[in-house]
């Protein structure tokens, strides 16, 4: 990815560049420049920088994505209650307007920064970087980044997170993964939220939701979660503890600034979909990186 040394020129594309020298001429006398750069290069640089920030402090960063009203903030509230150690967690909230979500998190005694994106439909790595500088990170183990409620745009922007958590709430319907393949393909874990509504909304078939998820080539675990009256979070809390342990193990190996869990932006990097040991997902990538 650099224009100085020519390392973006590979055996596959060298002929394009060398046809008439570095500045090959077109027939009508223009200079033709082969670039082969990702459109989100800027964002991805910043995301890598954020990830190094997290790793240097031994923090696990998770990017929460769902539709508006999918239950992200309620999940965080319930998770904070369950972990019962407000100092371990900070939250970055993304919304178009208002401080409402950050206030809900602060009411639990947890540090939260609200990013008001204005009209932007997603968070990007630069916004997250700014937010990080407004947080006290000593003693923090987990940074939750609650993305703007949207099943489309957030999937395209790497924030520096170690894993993507995608929420599918029961009232939304079981065919969401088929409708939003980019989002669900990016997920490292999918949480079926508001699962306590399944008896009422009986047209939602969890097996159909899982089939739709598998059809987009995802092997991410699909975990049932209820955040309200009688919270049922065990699968999610287990996943969280496993991911924390995996992150600690990865850092102990001395691996930092690893590739994002989702590496789809690098068009030349072909990645395997299957992750045999799902619960060691973060670690799994770290191992890939180390070899």
């Amino acid at each position: 990815m650099c224009d100085t040394c020519g390392c973006n020129v590979t055996d596959g594309n060298r002929h394009l560049v060398e046809a008439g020298g570095r500045l090959a001429r077109t027939e009508d006398g223009r200079a033709a420049v082969t670039v082969l750069q990702d459109l989100l290069t800027e964002n991805d640089h910043q995301a890598a920088h954020n990830r190094m920030h997290f790793d240097a402090r031994g923090i696990l960063a998770l990017n929460l994505m769902s539709s508006p009203g999918g239950g992200k903030t309620a999940l965080l509230e319930a998770t904070i209650d369950a972990l019962d150690d407000a100092g371990r967690i900070v939250v970055i909230e993304g919304d178009l307007e208002t401080e409402n979500d950050a206030e809900r998190i602060r009411a639990k005694g947890v540090q939260a920064v609200q990013i008001a994106t204005g009209s932007a439909c997603h968070l990007d790595a630069h916004m997250v970087h700014e937010a990080l500088h407004r947080l006290e990170l000593d003693g923090v183990e987990i940074v939750f980044i609650e993305n703007v409620g949207n099943l489309v745009c957030p999937a395209s922007f790497d924030l520096g997170q170690h894993a993507n958590v995608t929420l599918l709430s029961v009232p939304e319907g079981d065919d969401k993964p088929a409708k939003y393949p980019v989002m669900f393909r990016a997920a490292d874990v999918v949480l079926l939220t508001k699962a306590d509504l399944l008896p009422v909304l009986d047209d939602f078939d969890p097996a159909r939701a899982e089939a739709a998820l598998r059809a987009v080539g995802s092997t991410a675990p699909l975990l049932h979660v209820a955040s309200r009256k009688n919270p049922a979070l065990q699968g999610w809390l287990d996943w969280l503890e496993d991911s924390l342990a995996a992150q600690r193990a990865r850092l102990a190996e001395g691996s930092t600034g690893c590739a994002p869990v989702r590496s789809a932006h690098d068009a030349h990097h072909h990645h395997e979909h299957p992750h045999v040991d799902r619960h060691r997902h973060v670690h799994h990538h770290a191992t890939d990186e180390a070899t």
């Binding site: 223009r30 033709a32 459109l39 290069t41 393949p181 080539g217 068009a267 979909h273």
Partner: protein, 134 residues
């Protein structure tokens, strides 16, 4: 006025921020190569990148206005979604929401193409006439 507002709101999704990043890349490329105007921009976009080509085309002039890319033609090549099956080795062209092997149905597949969002190449008007360089 009403029309302008509609165009802006149509483009006010992530394609606009992507175009802004693209225009910054184009500015840099133009500067590196003598400051010529950008005449042609070739992109390769896959359906699994999450970018809509039509939205990109709409947002590009807004992002490029007043830059060396203001008059550039945007050429977008759509990359097909192709997968390779780890189990049976078959290569299949498929739909973005069906990444299962077309032959054996396995979900152990590797994406060969379809998630690209690549700036492939750029053509610049030479800042000076060719004769003056030679």
């Amino acid at each position: 006025m009403a029309r302008r507002r509609r165009v802006l709101s149509d483009a006010a999704v992530h394609e606009l921020s992507i175009c802004q990043a693209l225009v910054r890349q184009l500015r840099g490329i133009s500067t590196q190569h003598g400051g010529g105007e950008v005449a042609l921009v070739k992109l390769r976009i896959g359906p699994l990148s999450g970018i809509e080509s039509a939205q990109l085309e709409q947002a590009f002039p807004l992002a490029a206005a007043g830059t060396p890319a203001a008059r550039a033609v945007l050429e977008i090549i759509t990359a097909p979604v192709r997968i390779h099956c780890v189990d049976c080795g078959t290569e299949t062209a498929t739909a973005p929401n069906r990444l299962l092997c077309g032959c054996c149905g396995s979900l152990r597949t590797r994406l060969l193409s379809g998630d690209e969002m690549l700036l492939e190449s750029v053509e610049l008007e030479l800042a000076m006439p060719a004769a003056a360089i030679a």
